[in-house]
Amino acid sequence: MYKDDIALAQSIMSGDERKFDQFFELYFPRLYRFAYTRMKDESQLEDIVQTTLMNAMRNMDKFRGEATMFTWLCQICRNEIAQHYRKLGKSVPTVTADDDVIRPILEALEAESETDPEGQYANHQVKELISEVLDFLPKNYGQALEWKYVWGLSVTEIAERLHVTELAAQSLLARARAAFRSALTQISPQLVPAGQE
């Protein structure tokens, strides 16, 4: 059971505006990215994500914490996207993580050259996939990893943003790396060999 997520849901249902704001800031950008990779029509993206979150508010009392809050929100979003495509008489584009497809793409990411169209497309695919992996990490792990390794924030700065001690921030980053490695290993065992430095 995801007790933190249950507590957040209960706070939202009780009318805690601060918790609502926290919920929105944490999940709206991730849900936006989730829908973005699945919607060919970006003009409908805002409607889809907005409807998803409004449905979540109406059904927050049904959240049981058996999956994470983000997983639950993605399920609602998937249904909205499926309904959208059904109305158009089209099938839903699927996002796959097949290892036989991913491995050469990840190998392409390792290569220096990104000048040819095929290489650029492969890189785009990988970036979308890694972005999705980050969003699906628990809590704010994905955010912390982005702050550290993309934006180059120090542990002190990350601790300030998360309102925790430096020690807690270091510990969170260690857990985030482990979770990220585990998630990547599921989609490509070749990507992060164990114990290799």
Partner: protein
């Protein structure tokens, strides 16, 4: 720098994330618009919940306590009216509940419910099944039902299901097996589950529901499987597994070959409907055995096939399994079981 023994190479993480770059962010104007709309919905839900709480306490107490009591009283009347309408509607619906199927036998280890909450043992001798009823199968026996259109549905021990109407069953737990052999193809029969639905197209198949996945296994014919993302056709000899979309890493469906004689079908023989042997043509009985066992029926020669078409059998096989009944029935004829390998029943002369 703090490291634990399972730490991963930081330079590798850094390399990957830097190549990925900053995560895509929604436009600020969109963020503001969406937040405003969602917040309005949130406020409305919170307000509705807060009215319901004081309403309940004022209904329980004899006197109104606040200056808004007259408003709460109006709301109370509205709720009461809704409740009365609901009760009347439910009663009306109950009167209109149809018998849509019947159990093949008096089952001891079987419970029913009208709401999937309060369970009672099936009354002795009660075999009628009405639309909307819930059933919970005990661990000691499987059950068999015959629907009004000829569909035979069998439920494995520990299954929980609801008979929704004459053409659909909702599976909550466990496994159901369907055989549409005696059923004219007028309307599809559907098994609904939390994760999706399976619809028959002249088949024998089973649906197995587990915590985070469900499987559709087709023994004969075809089954159309639908969930929120796709529609798939499953053919004979295929077992398709679909996973819950609530998984952290959602998985694509997987399929594997499954023989019609695989052990996964064995439980269905225990709950097969009673078979009326007396007066049946031998070939018809042999086809029934083939269907129940999943084996391929073969005749040693055309002469043997003709013999089977012209022979009438008598008696009863009782509760013998189809396979076990075979030798007994053939004893009364001058035909024999030549070969009963894993996948074949061959009938011929000595």
């Amino acid at each position: 720098m703090m490291r634990d023994e399972n730490d991963i190479p930081e330079h590798r993480i850094e390399e990957i994330l830097q190549r990925v770059g900053p995560l895509r962010s929604p436009p600020e104007e969109m963020t503001a618009r969406v937040k405003a709309s969602v917040k309005d919905t949130w406020r409305a839900e919170v307000t509705a919940n807060k009215i319901a709480e004081p309403l309940q306490s004022s209904l329980n107490s004899a006197t109104a306590r606040s200056t808004r009591s007259w408003q709460l009283a109006r709301i109370a009347v509205a709720f009461a009216l809704v409740a009365i309408v609901s009760i009347v509607s439910f009663k009306g619906e109950k009167d209109n509940l149809q018998q849509v199927a019947a159990f093949d036998s008096n089952y001891i280890d079987l419970e029913y419910s009208t709401d999937n909450l309060i369970w009672s043992p099936i009354a002795d001798g009660a075999i009628s099944i009405h639309s909307g009823s819930y059933f919970r199968v005990g661990q000691n026996e499987s059950v068999s039902m015959l629907f009004s259109d000829g569909m035979n549905v069998r439920a494995k021990p520990n299954a929980i299901f609801q008979v929704e109407n004459a053409h659909s069953v909702r599976l909550f737990k466990g496994a159901l097996y369907l055989d549409s052999y005696n059923r004219p193809q007028t309307e599809p029969f559907t098994i609904n589950t939390l994760f999706g639905q399976a619809t028959d197209i002249g088949t024998q198949y089973q649906v197995i529901l587990e915590e985070q996945q469900w499987s559709v296994q087709v023994r004969e014919g075809q089954v159309e499987v639908t969930d929120s993302q796709q529609e798939l056709m499953v053919n004979k000899g295929v077992s398709l597994t679909l996973f819950s979309k609530n998984d952290v890493s959602p998985r694509e469906p997987t399929s594997r070959a499954i023989s019609p004689t695989d052990s996964t079908w064995q439980w269905t023989e225990q709950s097969r409907p009673e078979y009326q042997l007396d007066g049946k043509v031998l070939s018809e009985y042999l086809m029934w055995v083939a269907r129940e066992t999943g084996k391929d029926l073969q005749y040693q020669s055309d002469d043997v096939r003709l013999k089977a078409l012209k022979t009438t059998v008598h008696g009863s096989i009782g509760q013998l399994s189809a396979q076990d009944s075979l030798r007994q029935v053939l004893l009364s004829t001058n035909l024999n079981l030549i070969d009963s390998a894993e996948s074949v029943i061959m009938v011929g002369y000595h």
